[in-house]
Structure formats: C-alpha cells, structure tokens
Symmetry: C2
C-alpha cells in the first residue's frame, strides 16, 4: 500500500474508527509513518489527533498542512485541545491556538492556566447548566434552542444565581418526567464537585469510589467553570496505573512502545545506575566475609537463595501496599493493623521456608546440621525484614508526599539483599567457623 | 462509638455515601465489624452490599436479617445482583434469589448462565430500546409512561423488529432535537455491540479504545439482551490492572487488605515455593564453580552484581511488555520491531555498565585487569538476555493464551540469575584460572 496509491489508502482507512487509525500510526515504523502521512495527511481529523500517543503526536502535527490542522482542532471539545497542547513545544502550541476562534482560545488558555495534572486541565468548558427553578419543559426548550452543546453530556447541572453548582439531574430523569416537573425535584441524592486546582489522581479516585458519570469543576469562588466526564477519568485511571507499574519497575513513566532505541536507553539507564550502586553495597557486605567464604565455599552458592527469597517476599508485600495506597484502601487508620499482619505473615512464611531450606542445605551442602540452622535462621530474619520493608517503605514515601511506587522496588531489593547476605554470612561466621 | 449507642451510629453513618460506609466496614477489625453489624445491620442497603469488598461480603450477608437482605437486593439493578451472587456459596445464593420477584429472578438466572468473567455477567438486563422509525416525541412519551427504567441510562438503543440492535442515540441528542425528528436521523456514527459470551477483558478494551459510555450486549441470535455501562467497564479495567500487578509480583490475584493472616500466607506461599526451587537452581550453577571461587574469593562478592543488573533490566523490559500486551499496543505486527529494540537497548546499556563496572572491579577487587574484562563481558551477556527474555517470555505466554503477567517475573529473574552466575563464573574459570 505504501506504493503511493493514495486513493486505495483512503478507501482502507476511511471506515476505521479514529482510535484504530491512531494505533496503526503508532505501530508502523517511523519511515513508513512519514510516507503514510505524506499520502494521507489531509484526512487526519481532530479525533485521530487526540487518540495518537504523545510520543509521536508532535511528529504527526508537524507534518500536517496548517489548514488541515486548524480544521482538525476546531472540531474538538476544549478538554481535548488542552490535552493536545500540553505536550507540544511553544511554536506548535501557538500555531494551534491561532487556529481557534477567539472564544475557544480563551477557554483553552484558561484551562492551561491551571497546574499540570490538575482537574482544571481535564475539564471541558462546554457545560450544560440550568437554574434550580426551571421545569423539565423549560429545560428541553432551552436545549432545543442551543447550538453549542458538547458532543457528549449526561447531566444538567443545577446552579444558583451566582453560578454555584448545587446539584444535578440525569438526562434519563428529565426525559422520563412530565414537562411541568421542577428540576429541583429530580436532582440526584448525592452530588459532588471538585476544585479546578485539585490533582488528577483525586479526580480518578472520586469517579471510581462514587461511580460518577460526570463531575462539575469549580473555581476558587466556588463557581461552575467546567465539567469532567467519565471517559476522561477512565484515561486518567489508566495512566495512573501505568505510571505505578512503570515506576515500580524503574522504567521512565513516559515510556512507550513507539519510543526509539535512544529514548528507551535514556529512560532505563538511571535506575540501572542506581541498581549498580546498591549492588556494589551488597558486594561490600559479602566482601566483609571473604575469609568465611574462603573456608566454606558452599556458602557462596547458598547465599543468593537467602537474598532471593527476601527479594521475592518483599516484592509481594510491596505490590500489595503500593496498590492499596493507590486505591486508598491503606490509610492511617488501618496502617498499624496491616503492618502487623505483614510482620506475622513474614514470620510464618519465613519459618516454613526456613525448615524446608534448612533440611535441603543440611542434606546436600554439608554434613553439618548447623549449616541448615544458619540458613534457616537467615531466611526467617530476611523474610520478616522483607515483609516489613515492603509495607513500611511505601507508607513512609506516601507520608513524605512522594509517590510510593517510585523506586520502592529498588529500596526493598537492596535492603533484602544486604540483610540476606549479612544475616547468612554473619551467622555462618559466628556459628560455623 | 462501639459502646452500643446505636442511635449515634445511625446519625454518624447515615449521611455517608454507600462506598464510604463499605470502606469503613473493610478497614475495621473483624470483631469490631461484627459488633457494628449487630447494632447497625438493619440500615444496610443494596448499594452498600455492592460496594463491599468480596473478601468480607459473605460475612456481612450472613449477619443480615432475611428481610433486610431481601429489601437490599430488590432495589438493585440486575448486574449488581449478579455481581453479589457470583461470590457467594450455594445456600446464600438461593436465599438472595428467593428474595427477588419472579421476573428479576429470571433475569439474574439468565445472566448467571453465561460463563464467569463474560460480558453476559456484567450486563444489566434493564435496557432502554426503541424501534428505528420512532420520532423524538414518541420516544419521550414512551419514557414518561414507563416505570421500570434503570437507575442510569445514557442511550436509547435502536432495534429492528427482531430486536437486533442497529444503532444508538444519546439522550443529549434526543433532548436537543424537535419532537418530529426521527431517531434514525440522530443515531451516532460509530456503533458497536458485544456478544454475551465475550470476555470481560475485551469489554474493558472496547470501552477505553472507543470511549464508549454504554455497550449493547447480544445473544447468539444477535438479539439485544442487555447493556453494559461505563461504570462497570471502569471496575473491570481497575480489576484487570490489579490482577496484572499482583500476578507479576506472585501474589494471589484475589488478595485484599482485609484478608486475614492465614489467607495471606496461603496466597503468597506458592510463588515463594517456586522461587525457592529456582533459587536452588541458581545455587547449583554456582556450585559448579566452587573450585574457581575457592581460588578467587572476590568472585563471590561480585557475582550478585551481575545477577542483580540482569534482574533489574529484565524487570524493566518485562513490565513494559506486559503493560503493552494488556493495552494491545504490542501485537503480532510490531512484535519483531519491539524485540529488536529491546535487544539493541540491552546491548547498549550492557556495554555502558560493563565499562563502568569493569573499571570498578579492576580498581577495587583485583590488580588483574582481566577481572574487569570478565565482569564487563558477563554484564553485557546478561543484560542482552534480560532484555530479550523480558519481552519474549510474556509474548510466548500470550501466544499460548496464558496470562503474560502470570509468573513472568519469576521466569525472568530465574533466567537472569542463572545466566548471570554462569556467564560470570564460567568466563572467570576460563580466563582467570
């Protein structure tokens, strides 16, 4: 198809959903992408632009003719425009802002004035609101007369005369009520708003916790300035998860499959460097016991078992804790109980595996029953440390207002390595020499 | 408050959202929970029941008076009843089914007839549909006359005379159109349905990929049998993420903070046992080189560095690959390119860290420049193996229709340990002895 047959290309791509076209653009190689955009660039619309992954969006935008770009951007709701603008460099931003109508530009610029990753950046400015005293009939007549309605809306937000949101009515209820019913009688029982300066992560939490479909956003004075819809909240949730996973693994959180080799090397290098330093600390610990190892070489073979069991148990506790902090199931009120539970679990698993491994070591590595006792004791110590650090490290990071996912993996692994080697070799030195 | 003052308790809990009440029940200790339920059990409603975590739901349900339970269940939509029933034992299931009206019971039983984790289990049976030829006015009159409408609905689904869904109209469009406009003229451009037997994970994917709010569900004959709404899809997405994270860490995917000590021990034991076996394999590899270590003891201190760098790099590749498979960004069409990228990244990072670590080893651990060369070469080998296995293992598991998150972490760590020790000690034996 890359043979230059642009008519065929249009036929092939035309029936696809914007999200699928974006996926195709992401999956092909950079050279192919440039060729495709040359042939097909004029067909790119706003929906495709907002679906494309950030890592290649700038490349795509630069390749577009100015009039195509202007048309594409003009058809989007303000939140999608903001989403696109956020990741662009200055000149490209200015070009897109220039393509907008004055009113839309003002709306987008105000959204951009809120901090990054805030509710203000997520919201769309197109809000359907109505005074509390309106009837269903008045509301329907109003909606029929308006032309600027957003693509998707699910509620009419009730506001007082000073534009403060005070409740909302689902469209389903409006449609199923008689024309003379007042909106105030149809309002949902539970109603929540969020300040524009609140963090994205809080938005995602509120949506999942209370099963919302849309959430009104207010400014400092408590006036309605926008609304966040569930599809945006779902994207945030998805991104938060991705960040947690990638951060725990020490991969740059912006990493994407369409990144090139150099970007990928640059993202992964820092945490590997940290790991090199921490691994050298473990090596120093082992080095302290070189004389012991020289006498009983079997210790060298057995010591990674102690470290590895600790690393594994630590990762288990850590993952559960990071996840629970993200979903806010782990809070100050149950932290003590969870830490205690981890401690007991670590102890029980530790004793279990200590017995098994002690017997294995005794049977296969030395005729000395004390070797088994030493490795067993070291495993108990290391599994308890692993369980505790797996939950305490993310809790402390969280208390310090840092992301609990960030690098906790490296901390826990280092700690379990150091403790594992030290406990095993230290005990061996005392007992076996 | 646990002093038995049930009036105060009602005052305190009454204004809270069901989700928050459920969180309180989850966070307190089991004994407190029983006391709270004794005092306050009669106030538990359906919303609270469906918010409670599965791990304690059975306990709560058993404590409720039969009439309270019946009232609670009757007010829920069919999908929420199914969600509650799924996790209960036979007798409790029968009790709840018995509390339902005949019609609701039939709906719930049919949903339960679909396989677990299928679209059929997620859907609610209460669907708002209309024939294609209706006008806006007819639809509004119909909605005003019906009483059984679901709590939340966002679309009217258009059906042909044989109940096959052929499109849908958002409520916003119905509200903003004149009464004489035909529904068929308001239908959304893109329209998707899903078969009731499809997997939950596909449902979540379709919702995120196409930004849907609701998705009609069809039976084998293609007839409309229910609808899945975005809040359910969002829960599925959340659960899928949780499963991926917990599985990668080798924690039972059902694990929850409210689990007791024994449940937690039982969940974590199996993967620790697997790890014990694989760690012993690494120990055997080291054991093969005991004579080498006996001569150059510094090798014992340095060898965990090689393994740890590999483990870290492998986890990085693995996390990116598992995540990309979950979001379907990694497919057959770009797998080759991604594997190639990982290979090159592994090689480049490997060479970088090999030089650094080679110099460190030469300077601090031996006067022999060859020791530095050996550890450098082993790091390059291990980082390439780590990068490749990190992406190939989940790809193979995926091809075999297994969950790529399941245990890939253990596989990758074992491989990088074995390869790391073997490459380092093997090269050392050849070069240094």
């Amino acid at each position: 198809v890359e043979a230059g047959d642009s008519a065929r290309l249009v036929d092939l791509l035309e029936p696809l959903h914007a999200a699928d076209v974006a996926d195709i653009l992401e999956q092909i190689r950079a050279g192919e992408r440039a060729a495709l955009l040359r042939l097909w660039g004029r067909e790119i619309d706003g929906d495709i632009l907002s679906e494309i992954d950030e890592s290649i969006r700038e490349e795509v935008i630069e390749s577009l003719a100015p009039d195509v770009l202007a048309d594409a951007v003009r058809e989007l709701d303000s939140d999608d425009v903001v989403d696109i603008l956020e990741d662009l460099e200055e000149p490209a931003q200015a070009r897109i802002l220039g393509a907008l109508d004055r009113e839309d530009r003002a709306a987008v610029e105000q959204s951009l004035s809120y901090p990054e990753y805030s509710a203000g950046r997520l919201m769309q400015r197109e809000v359907v609101s109505a005074p509390l005293h309106w009837t269903v009939g008045e509301t329907i007549d109003f909606l029929r007369s308006e032309e600027w309605l957003p693509d998707q809306f699910y509620h009419v937000i009730l506001v007082d005369p000073r534009m403060k949101p005070i409740g909302y009515v689902t469209l389903g209820r409006i449609l199923s009520a008689r024309r003379d019913v007042r909106l105030s009688d149809l309002a949902e029982e539970s109603f929540r708003v969020i300040a524009a300066t609140e963090a994205e992560a809080d938005v995602a939490y509120i949506f999942t916790q209370y099963h919302l479909i849309s959430l009104p956003v207010t400014d400092q004075a408590g006036r309605l300035v926008g609304v966040i819809t569930i599809d945006d909240a779902m994207s945030v949730l998805d991104e938060e998860h991705e960040e947690d996973m990638l951060r725990m693994a020490g991969v740059g959180e912006e990493s994407s499959l369409s990144d090139g080799v150099w970007d990928t090397v640059r993202q992964r290098f820092p945490w590997l460097a940290v790991n090199l330093v921490t691994a050298n600390i473990s090596a120093l610990v082992i080095g302290m016991f070189e004389n012991t190892i020289a006498v009983i070489v079997a210790l060298a073979a057995l010591m990674p078992i102690v470290a590895s069991m600790g690393g594994n148990a630590g990762t288990q506790s850590l993952t559960v804790a990071v996840r629970a902090l993200a979903t806010r199931d782990l809070t100050a009120s149950n932290a003590k109980r969870v830490v205690w539970r981890e401690l007991v679990v670590g102890l029980l698993n530790g004793v279990g595996f200590a017995v098994v491994m002690g017997l294995v070591a005794w049977a296969f590595y030395g005729r000395d029953v004390w070797l088994g006792a030493v490795i067993g004791a070291a495993i108990v110590v290391n599994l308890v440390v692993a369980a505790l650090s797996g939950v305490l490290i993310p809790l402390v990071l969280h208390r310090l207002k840092l992301d609990p996912a960030l690098a906790s993996g490296t901390f826990v692994m280092t700690l379990t390595d150091v403790v594992g080697f030290f406990a095993f070799l230290g005990l061996a030195t005392m007992v076996l020499l």
